[in-house]
Structures are given as structure tokens and as C-alpha cells.
């Protein structure tokens, strides 16, 4: 047991206690948490800073508005419905189209208006929010992901999670929805995590349910050694989010829309640790490298350049 502990610590694997103790508690001031916990505020923040986000169609704040929901949704054939303060991808419904009065979800299932309204009511009552607080429901543009991902995603939108430490992108992964994750990009729900080389934007190895894989279990296409388009732009957006939120240890989730390009979906002040498994690499050495060498923060451009150049050499 102690041998394993030592090996993990030599490999720079970060545990949850370490993340909380030495990173989120230290680098993420509590007062900035609402900026990322409330997706509405994140959206506004990003728009103000010129970062593209999925267009907001509407917000439902009180139970009474739910009655007007079908009428409101008339305008949109597809949309995403999600809680403003949800965590771990919970409570998100992706509607890809309408069949008469029914809505078709991304996994092909049909839901009725009543079911959708009930879902919104659950959101408002805080079923999906941290600590069960009352919440708002957001209706927004459904991302049409870039066709380069066609071969390796199933029933959902693949997104790119980038961990940004003190404004430096330190690690990234591509999250691919599967049949098992019902189109969601959360690893604990069965999505695939694919590590990305920070320097080149090429995917490394992939992990699905803690197993190393090479091809997508649903589409059978290879997911490794795949080049993420617009990689530099993605890193710049992620790095910019540090100034945006003031959070030193941040997870930024970005999607690539075929028309609108990179869009920031959400940010996370307590990003998970599975990214280490997807990259088959610990976070700590990179974080310590930044802590030791990058005391003077440069511009976003410098930081991204530094990350691309230096970090892959840090082990």
C-alpha cells in the first residue's frame, strides 16, 4: 500500500485531498465561486470579455413561467435545457427536434410537453443544484459540433476540458459521449476521456470506464492520434478564463461548433481528477512547474506559448 502511495506520488498523481487542500482552497477565492457555479453569470462574463458562448434563448425563473414554456419553445426546433447551477452534467436535456407535440431527445427518446415541464419544475426546485437551492432553468442554443468529430461521437456533443492553472493551460482532454452516457460528456456517466497533448493538440490515449481503449465503443472509429482543430484558439480561450473569473485552478469546458467555432460551455472551480487517467499522467508535476517558474504572469499569448513549449517536457 505504501509502495503504491509512493509510486503515485512520484508520478505526480493528484488526489482529491491534495486538490482541495493545496489548490482549490488556496487558489480559488470563495467569492469567485458564484461566477462559475451560476452558468448565467458565466455566460454574461464570457460575452463581456468577447468569448463566444452558446446563445441564450431564455431563462425560466418561477414556476408560473413553466406554463408558457411550449409557446416559448415554438420558435426553436432544437435547444438545450439545463439548470443554471447544475453540477456534473446533471439535469441537462438536449432536444434535437420536434415530432408533432413531442420533443426528441439526443438519445432518440421522445418526451411530452408535460414531461419537459416537470423537468423544468425539478430544476427550479433545486433538484440538480448544489445543496438543493432554488435554481433557474436555462434554454440555450444547441451546439452542432464540428464535423471532424462525426466519426468519434455518439448521440451528443463532444467537449474539450482544459485545466487552467494560474492562467496556464496545464492539461486537456476530449470527452466523447457514448451510448452508455446517453449523449452526455461526463466520464462518470460512461463518456470516453481522451488525453490531449497540450503542445500539438493531438489526442493521446483514451479511457473508458477506467479501461484503456483505442476506438470508440459505439462507432468503432479510432479516437487516438486525432488532431483537434483550432487548438491554439482553444488554449487561448481557456487561458483567458483565468482573468475572467479570478480562479487560479479552473476547469474550462469548450465545444467546437461547426458554424460558430469554439464556444465556452461552462467552467468548473473544482474540476475532477479523471483527466489524469485520460492523459495517463499526473497533474502535480505540471502544477509545480508553473508554481516554480511562472511567478510573473505574462499575457494570454505568452502563457499559452509557454504551456505548449514547456509543459510536455515536464514529467
Amino acid at each position: 500500500m505504501f509502495g503504491l502511495t509512493k509510486k503515485l506520488s512520484m508520478a505526480g498523481i493528484m488526489g482529491i485531498n491534495k486538490r482541495n487542500c493545496d489548490y482549490t482552497l488556496v487558489y480559488n477565492p470563495r467569492k469567485y465561486y458564484p461566477l462559475v457555479d451560476d452558468k448565467l453569470r458565466t455566460k454574461q462574463l464570457a460575452i463581456d470579455a468577447g468569448i463566444a458562448v452558446p446563445e441564450l434563448y431564455g431563462v425560466i425563473e418561477i414556476e408560473h413561467q413553466i406554463r408558457e414554456l411550449p409557446e416559448f419553445l415554438n420558435k426553436y426546433s432544437d435547444f438545450v435545457l439545463k439548470p443554471a447551477q447544475g453540477t456534473g452534467g446533471e439535469g441537462i436535456e438536449i432536444i434535437v427536434g420536434k415530432v408533432k407535440s413531442l420533443y426528441r431527445k439526443s438519445n432518440g427518446h421522445l418526451v411530452t410537453e408535460e414531461q419537459l415541464q416537470h423537468h423544468v419544475s425539478n430544476i427550479l426546485n433545486g433538484l440538480f443544484s448544489l445543496g438543493g437551492h432554488e435554481d433557474k432553468a436555462i434554454i440555450e442554443y444547441r451546439v452542432k459540433f464540428d464535423p471532424v468529430f462525426d466519426a468519434i461521437s455518439y448521440q451528443g456533443v463532444p467537449d474539450i476540458r482544459i485545466i487552467v492553472f494560474m492562467g496556464f493551460p496545464v492539461m486537456a482532454m476530449l470527452r466523447l459521449p457514448t451510448h452508455m452516457s446517453s449523449g452526455k460528456a461526463n466520464l462518470h456517466k460512461g463518456a470516453i476521456g481522451v488525453g490531449i497533448d497540450i503542445a500539438t493538440g493531438r489526442t493521446l490515449n483514451a479511457v473508458w470506464k477506467n479501461d484503456l481503449i483505442n476506438e470508440h465503443p459505439d462507432t468503432r472509429n479510432p479516437v487516438t492520434d486525432f488532431e483537434i482543430p483550432k487548438w491554439d484558439e482553444l488554449l487561448m480561450i481557456a487561458a483567458k478564463c483565468y482573468e475572467l473569473t479570478g480562479l487560479g485552478y479552473l476547469g474550462v469546458d469548450i465545444v467546437l461548433d461547426r458554424v460558430k467555432g469554439p464556444l465556452v460551455l461552462e467552467m468548473n472551480a473544482r474540476p475532477g481528477l479523471s483527466i489524469q487517467i485520460a492523459n495517463h499522467m499526473g497533474l502535480l508535476h505540471r502544477l509545480e512547474f508553473i508554481q516554480a517558474n511562472a511567478i510573473r504572469l505574462g499575457s494570454v499569448f505568452d502563457r499559452v506559448a509557454c504551456s505548449r513549449k514547456m509543459l510536455t517536457r515536464v514529467y
Binding site: 419544475s121 425539478n122 477506467n210
Partner: protein, 507 residues
């Protein structure tokens, strides 16, 4: 983030708690284990006399705390008398006084006295002066003759004393002795004589009076013995039993030539002494001791609270122990549970049902509740009314189980009523959400984690030793707090994370 601040704070808390704990164990004698009994004696002195209408003053020698005996508690009971206690020449004396009294009078002295188990030698005392014998003429000659006789048959001071006792106690007729002792000498007179003869040898000695602590009801009387100053220590010698050394069974009442009770203004004095061994819990003894040593401290302690409040605290104070355990399980091992403190609340509810039946009842209630909750899901109820419905159903289920249990003759079915239904309701709700969001395996995993944590917490919290420790020594909580705070900065791996990340270092 500077950890030094935390370390200092934790060290202060830890050592404050530990210090107070050790002090209470070592000095005040609070028992470490539950149900410990102390060697406690109840001594009662009853003084009877007839008052003649004149001012009455009764003086009684009373014990004082020594290395062998500790007075836990004492009472002076009388009707209308003024009471004053004075200490003169190392003797403690209580004076009852009244201006005008007539008829039968009864005064009581009652004390709870604890026999201390100390192995320390008696305190040294230097510069003890020899009281002159005041023998003159023939008396002096007789005493010197006896001393010489004893000296010839002895090797050192202690054997000299024993020889003197032999001579004085010997039935053989001895003119020298008769001269010094007179007709039918009392025990006290004999000891006085030995002390005066010893003073001719420049050996300080003194007369002690006290009680031999054995169970004696009504017929106990003070005994007298001798203390000789040897090697800068007072050594006791009982002339009757020939016991020497530290006479630790003897409770000293007074020293010197005097009577136990001195009465003026009364007649037909009658003194009765009762000595009774008492089965006092150590905790009561220690608490009473604390009360007498630090009345203010005691007034602010848990043991001064009303008994029913104490009972509540005896349960509440075990919660920190359970919470500490929870911190260990969650942050060091990485067990997943529903809610942060829910397992502790479940553990507390096991107190009512006991562990096995508690686990069974809990599992049955949660399973039935979950089934109903899934049915309610179909009805698309709003959150709060849905929670309320589950709560009502849980109570109905509990009622049903109690009735069923009663009819089947299972008593633990009845105690289900005290099961915290709100906890059950919240568990059902959270479990159903986890079930839908993360799948049944995750829900069952977390459910088992919660129940296992609750079971372990219950087993530890309900240990008699644990409950005893936290109620008698609430300062233990400072130690727990310091350790918990230290764990708050534990940044090492959780045990289950080793498993999770194992693959990363396998190659």
C-alpha cells in the same frame, strides 16, 4: 497557506485537552473506566449529652486530608448550634456552641473519606524537638532504668521502641513500671509513658489518636498509637498489634494528650462512632472531591447539571467521536455516503433499535420507500410536495411495521417509531436521485457505504468506555477537535484513490 498557524492552534488544543485530562485522572482521581468503585468510608460521630441550660460548647477533633485519606465530603449536623472549625497544632477541631440549650442534645459529624492508594513514603520532617520528659526524682530513676533495660535488648531505635512496648505491656510485676503507670493504666497512659521514656533518649515521639478503618457500627472507638521520629520521618507504631511503619489503615483524628470530645455546659456525654464502607462510584467521589477543591470549576462542569440533562449530553458528546470517525472514513479511506453527516444520524437512531434490527428496519424502510418514490416519479409531483408525500408514507410504513412487529412479538418493531423519519425520507430522496442519475450500482454502493459507516460509528459511539470518557472528560473533545483540524489539511491520497489511480503507475 501557512500551516504553522494551524499546527500551533492544534498543539494548544491538543495539549490543553490532554493536560486537563491527565490532571483529572491523576490528581482528582476521575476513573478512566466506567463503573469503577472507590474505597470510600462513611464515618459518623454522634455526640449525645444533656444540656443544663448554660452556654454549651462541644469540641470534637475531626480528621483532615492526609496522604492516606482524603475527605470527600463532610457535614456538621446540629440544631441551632453555631459551628466553627479551627486548626491548632496540626489538629482540626470543630466547635459547636450555643448560648442556651436544655435537655437531650445530639450533634452529628459525618464524613465521606476516601482511602487513597499512594505508595509515596511519609513526608520528611526535620528539626523536630524533643519534649522534655518532666520526670523528676524517683520517676526519673525508674524511667532511666527501664530505658537502660530496653536499650540492652535492642539494636536500634525501632527495636528500642518495640522493647519498651514489651516491657510496658508485660504482665510481670515491675516496681519501676508501677511507679510510672499507676493502677490500671489506660492505653493512652501507657503510650504517654513510652513517649516520656523515649524523650530521655532524645528520641522525639508523639501520641496519635484516630480510627482504625474497619467496618464497625456503633461500637467503634478511637484508638491510640505512637509515632516515633526516625530518620527524619514519623514512623507509626501500634502498641497492641506491634505494627510499625506507615499505619495506613488508621485515620488520624488528633495528636497529643487530649480527649476526642470536650464538652462544657453539658453532662452525660455519650459518643458513638460508626464506620461504614460505602460503594461509591469513583466518578461521584472524584466529582465531590473536585467540588471541595475547586468549587467554581465544579459549578461549571457537566457533572453539576441535572441528571436528565447529563443523560442527553452523554449521547450528544459521543457525536464528535462518530464525526471524527466519519472524517477518517471519508477523507482518509474515501468511503462515499449520502449526505455529510447522515450516517451519524442513522448511527444515533440505532441506539433505539440496536444494530442488527436497526440495519434490517432501515433497509426494509428504505427499500419500500424507494419503490414508492419511483412510483411517485411517474406522477410528476413538485419537489416539496413529493418529499412531504414520501415523509408521510415513511411514517405510515413505520406504523405498519410497529403493528406487525408487535403482533409477531418482535419488540424492536416498536422502537422503529423513534427512528428519525426525516432522515429516512431524505435518504430515500437522495438515493432515488443517485439511482436515476448515476445508476443503481452507484446508489447501492453509496447506500451500503452509508449503512456501513453508520454501523461502525454506532459500534464505537455505543462503547461504554467511549461514552464514559467523553462524559467524564469532555476535554477529550479538544483533542478530537485538534486531530480533526489536522485532518483538514491532510493532502495525501485516499485509500480508495490508490485503487482508482492504480493503472497510472502499473506500467
Amino acid at each position: 497557506m501557512n500551516n504553522r498557524h494551524l499546527y500551533i492552534l492544534c498543539a494548544i488544543l491538543f495539549f490543553a485537552g490532554l493536560g486537563l485530562f491527565i490532571y483529572k485522572v491523576a490528581y482528582l482521581g476521575f476513573p478512566l473506566l466506567p463503573g469503577q468503585k472507590t474505597d470510600v468510608w462513611e464515618v459518623e460521630v454522634k455526640i449525645n449529652f444533656n444540656a443544663t441550660g448554660r452556654p454549651v460548647k462541644a469540641l470534637l477533633y475531626v480528621p483532615r486530608t492526609s496522604t492516606d485519606f482524603s475527605i470527600i465530603n463532610e457535614n456538621f449536623i446540629s440544631k441551632g448550634y453555631g459551628i466553627s472549625i479551627s486548626t491548632v497544632d496540626g489538629n482540626r477541631q470543630v466547635a459547636w456552641s450555643i448560648r442556651n440549650a436544655r435537655g437531650q442534645q445530639t450533634l452529628y459529624y459525618r464524613a465521606m473519606i476516601e482511602k487513597m492508594v499512594t505508595s509515596e513514603p511519609p513526608a520528611t520532617s526535620r528539626n523536630v524537638k524533643v519534649v522534655p520528659s518532666e520526670y523528676e526524682g524517683a520517676d526519673l530513676e525508674a524511667a532511666t532504668a527501664i530505658l537502660l533495660e530496653a536499650k540492652q535488648k535492642s539494636a536500634d531505635k525501632i527495636t528500642l521502641v518495640m522493647q519498651l512496648i514489651d516491657i510496658i505491656e508485660s504482665p510481670a510485676n515491675n516496681d519501676n513500671l508501677s511507679l510510672l503507670l499507676g493502677e490500671n493504666p489506660s492505653q493512652q497512659r501507657k503510650i504517654e509513658t513510652i513517649i516520656r521514656i523515649l524523650s530521655l533518649d532524645e528520641t522525639p515521639a508523639r501520641l496519635m489518636h484516630g480510627l482504625h478503618m474497619t467496618e464497625q457500627i456503633g461500637k467503634a472507638s478511637p484508638t491510640s498509637w505512637l509515632e516515633v521520629h526516625l530518620d527524619e520521618k514519623w514512623v507509626g507504631v501500634d502498641p497492641v498489634t506491634r505494627q510499625t511503619g506507615k499505619l495506613s489503615d488508621y485515620l488520624v483524628l488528633w495528636k497529643g494528650i487530649d480527649r476526642m470530645v470536650n464538652l462544657t455546659g453539658g453532662e452525660n456525654l455519650n459518643v458513638a462512632i460508626n464506620i461504614k464502607q460505602s460503594d461509591l462510584e469513583s466518578i461521584t467521589a472524584a466529582s465531590t472531591r473536585e467540588k471541595s477543591i475547586y468549587p467554581d470549576f465544579w459549578r461549571h462542569s457537566l457533572l453539576n447539571l441535572p441528571l436528565d440533562t447529563q443523560r442527553v449530553y452523554s449521547i450528544l458528546l459521543t457525536v464528535p467521536v462518530g464525526v471524527f470517525l466519519l472524517v477518517l472514513l471519508r477523507n482518509i479511506i474515501g468511503v462515499k455516503t449520502f449526505g455529510t453527516f447522515m450516517p451519524i444520524l442513522i448511527a444515533m437512531s440505532f441506539r433505539e433499535t440496536q444494530l442488527i434490527s436497526g440495519l434490517i428496519l432501515f433497509t426494509i424502510l428504505i427499500s419500500l420507500g424507494l419503490a414508492i418514490r419511483f412510483y411517485l416519479e411517474k406522477l410528476k409531483l413538485l419537489l416539496v410536495p413529493r418529499l412531504a408525500s414520501v415523509l408521510i408514507i415513511v411514517i405510515l410504513l413505520m406504523l405498519f411495521m410497529s403493528i406487525l412487529g408487535h403482533n409477531l412479538g418482535i419488540e424492536s418493531g416498536l422502537s422503529v417509531a423513534l427512528f428519525p423519519m426525516v432522515i429516512i425520507t431524505m435518504t430515500i430522496e437522495r438515493m432515488s436521485i443517485v439511482w436515476e442519475e448515476r445508476g443503481p450500482s452507484e446508489a447501492i454502493k453509496q447506500g451500503i457505504g452509508s449503512l456501513a459507516t453508520a454501523a461502525i460509528a454506532f459500534l464505537i459511539m455505543s462503547l461504554g468506555h467511549v461514552e464514559h470518557l467523553v462524559t467524564v472528560f469532555p476535554e477529550v473533545l479538544f483533542i478530537l477537535l485538534s486531530l480533526t483540524m489536522l485532518l483538514g489539511r491532510y493532502s495525501g491520497y485516499r485509500l480508495l484513490e490508490l485503487h482508482r489511480f492504480r493503472a497510472l503507475v502499473s506500467k
